[in-house]
């Protein structure tokens, strides 16, 4: 049994002018020690998906359908009190901006000891030594001194290390990291990626990383979910997806990266914009932007605009596209996109 199982999850935000369906029919599983990436552009629903796993949705968001099972416990049914034993304790979160995550009026030591004492019956002295040990694990220099410092006295990279140390405090089974390196500089980002990877391997912690940056995801994760307009459009081994994307959207996303074109040559662009989550097109949400929406004879493919595609196996991935087997697997990728 997988550590975390998500089945047919639907998250909705009922608003006055209509309902926003931010996550639609999402299913995936995470094993112990596995590192999973969720990639997509802003507004694809990836953060909402992560927050909904721990029922951290802000009002009026709610899980309309589906299951989230952690070690067999159904998280969507637990009371708040029961859920609190899992949040922060068994499943920890790391957010994008370390300076807003940390409390500016408490020292690092106070914050670390506070979270330990909230979850465990533990003496202050013992909590302090656990905090020190975790700071050493994330390779923070002079940890004793750090405990007495406030977040504003530390640099961004150091703060993110401390946030990771806090996430590790209670030896969680899963860490959910929402854009953990986006606010950091490139050289610091590389260190944080190496650190997260090392810690997850060493302590057999499952990791869910959300990012819009395929470079980060490629370095850090083993498996990848690609989201578009609230749905998973492709799911499979990270390497396989980056090297040989199956879904037209994933292909477009990868080919639009500046790395994929020759210098000073035009980039392959996906026409149009991601639809707003309140006005997702019927059928396949990507079809108005898809380069396979027309048949070779120039006729629109009716399936694409009428039916939501089921996930099918193509290559090493599961791909939600009606035509992936017939078309994309056989068609050579056009010259311009290489």
């Amino acid at each position: 049994m997988a550590l975390l199982e998500v089945e047919h999850l639907d998250v909705r935000f009922p608003l006055r002018h209509g309902e926003i369906r931010a996550v639609r029919d999402v299913s995936f599983a995470l094993d112990r020690g596995e590192r999973l990436g969720i990639v997509g552009e802003s507004g694809a629903g990836k953060s909402v998906l992560a927050f909904s796993l721990l029922r951290l949705l802000s009002r009026p968001g709610r899980i309309a359908r589906g299951r989230v099972r952690f070690e067999g416990h159904e998280l969507t049914r637990l009371s708040d009190r029961q859920l609190r034993r899992i949040r922060g304790n068994r499943v920890a979160m790391i957010f994008q901006d370390p300076l807003t995550t940390l409390n500016p009026v408490l020292t690092i030591g106070q914050q670390m000891i506070e979270s330990l004492k909230a979850h465990r019956r533990i003496s202050s002295r013992r909590a302090r030594s656990v905090a020190l040990q975790k700071l050493r694990q994330v390779q923070v220099s002079s940890p004793e001194q750090r405990l007495a410092q406030y977040p504003h006295q530390l640099s961004g990279g150091l703060c993110q290390r401390i946030v990771i140390a806090i996430a590790l405090l209670l030896d969680p089974d899963i860490i959910i990291a929402d854009e953990p390196t986006t606010a950091l500089d490139v050289t610091i980002q590389a260190e944080i990626i190496a650190l997260l990877k090392h810690l997850c391997e060493k302590h057999n912690v499952g990791l869910i990383v959300i990012s819009h940056d395929l470079g980060v995801i490629g370095r850090l994760t083993q498996r990848l979910l690609v989201m578009y307009a609230g749905r998973i459009v492709e799911q499979g081994p990270t390497r396989a997806i980056i090297n040989d994307a199956q879904h037209p959207y994933t292909q477009g996303l990868i080919n639009a990266l500046p790395q994929m074109a020759l210098p000073r040559q035009p980039l392959a662009q996906i026409p149009g914009n991601m639809p707003s989550l309140s006005q997702v097109p019927a059928g396949c949400a990507f079809h108005p932007r898809c380069r396979y929406r027309l048949t070779p004879q120039g006729q629109p493919r009716r399936d694409c605009s009428e039916r939501v595609p089921e996930a099918v196996v193509s290559g090493e991935s599961q791909v939600a596209c009606h035509w992936v087997r017939e078309l994309i697997a056989t068609l050579p990728i056009e010259e311009e996109t290489i």
């Binding site: 552009e41 802003s42 640099s155 961004g156 990279g157 150091l158 500089d185 490139v186 050289t187 610091i188 980002q189 590389a190 260190e191 990626i193 190496a194 819009h212 940056d213 395929l214 470079g215 980060v216 490629g218 370095r219 980056i242 090297n243 477009g252 996303l253 990868i254 639009a256 990266l257 500046p258 790395q259 994929m260 074109a261 210098p263 000073r264 035009p266 980039l267 392959a268 662009q269 996906i270 914009n273 991601m274």
Partner: protein, 351 residues
């Protein structure tokens, strides 16, 4: 010969044409903690109270030839945006000179700047903040045209704005809408159209695609490159994203704590970076398909360039630093035509 003269001759080949832009010894300092009651600190060496200042830009020499796309790359706080603003005349330098097309422009008054504004335009990072929320797209685009061409008829201004919208791919039917009705990518198109509205020859773009998603980023980069080809533009592009630099730049300047470490043609820099910081930066940027690259680990993090800066700014994180790097600030030296680097270790042949 003053030190500044020698630097200048070193960095520039004798027969090179007049560059469109030439920057010499440019520096900008900002007061640290201006809000504090006592922003001073006692300096033991000079035995005096000194105001603490940040050297955001510290002695930058640079020239941009016509048709170049120079990318300035560096981490946050390295002074790249300050450099852009100094060149655009939005900030005045504490010392140093900016020459635009052979004319010195850094000491001009706002009125004297006006003819240059027509030739030099700027695009900002956040199109949500850089567009006036109370103007429609048409007003946004017509205002600069009217301002710089007071003799044009209303119809001519209108046609100019229409042509711009067509150029950058904004539907003409949307011209009476306000900026908030557009998505981030569309707004950046409007900002680009506004910059192009006065038909400039030089565009300074400060992180123009950093706030955008990957698929939109590709659209905007293509638009910028098309505009360059059609209008023979010269670019100064500020960014922290090396993938964008590699794609867009013809020349690259790598900045660290207010100084330029390495200045080279894009191909040269990406094929053979020489400065230890350039190497670390290239090694750290995630690449897609080459598997796991050996990351060159740097010690510590960027500090703030608080005065007095002594020695090489990068010495604290540099694996090759020695006592000379502690004492002496490396001056930029030309390695080959158009490749300039400020590093003692490279100069001495240690790396």
């Amino acid at each position: 010969m003053t030190p500044a003269d020698s630097l200048q001759t070193l960095g520039r080949a004798a027969d090179a044409p007049t560059p469109l832009l030439r920057v010499e010894g440019l520096s900008k300092r900002f007061a640290l903690h201006p809000e504090r009651l006592l922003p001073w600190r006692f300096d033991k060496r000079s035995r005096a109270w000194r105001r603490q200042r940040i050297h955001a830009v510290n002695g930058v020499d640079l020239e941009i030839q016509r048709g170049d796309a120079l990318c300035v790359v560096g981490e946050s706080g390295c002074g790249k945006s300050t450099l852009a603003r100094l060149i655009a005349g939005l900030l005045s330098p504490c010392s140093g000179e900016v020459h635009y097309d052979g004319q010195r422009v850094d000491h001009l008054t706002a009125n004297q700047w006006r003819p240059y504004r027509r030739r030099l335009q700027m695009i900002f990072q956040n199109p949500f903040a850089s567009l006036n929320p109370r103007l429609t797209v048409r007003q946004t685009l017509e205002e600069p045209i009217r301002l710089h061409h007071t003799d044009w008829s209303r119809a001519r201004v209108r046609d100019g704005a229409d042509a711009l919208m067509a150029d950058v791919g904004i539907d003409l039917g949307w011209s009476e809408r306000f900026a908030h009705e557009f998505s981030g990518g569309q707004r950046q198109r409007i900002a680009i159209a506004r910059a192009l509205s006065v038909n400039p020859e030089f565009i300074i773009a400060d992180e123009p695609v950093s706030a955008l998603d990957v698929s939109v980023q590709a659209q905007i980069l293509n638009l910028l490159m098309d505009a360059q080809a059609e209008r023979r533009l010269t670019y100064l592009l500020i960014t922290h994203d090396l993938a964008v630099v590699e794609h867009f730049a013809t020349r690259v300047a790598v900045m660290y704590l207010g100084t330029i470490c390495e200045l080279a043609d894009a191909d040269t820099l990406f094929a053979n970076p020489r400065h230890p910081y350039s190497r670390a930066l290239l090694a750290a940027s995630p690449r897609l398909r080459d598997g796991q690259v050996q990351t060159m680990r740097l010690n510590g993090e960027t500090s703030m360039p608080i005065e007095p800066p002594s020695g090489c700014v990068f010495r604290a994180r540099c694996p090759h630093a020695n006592s000379r790097c502690q004492r002496e600030r490396p001056s930029p030296r030309t390695l080959a035509e158009g490749h300039r680097i400020a590093c003692h270790a490279v100069e001495e042949g240690r790396i």
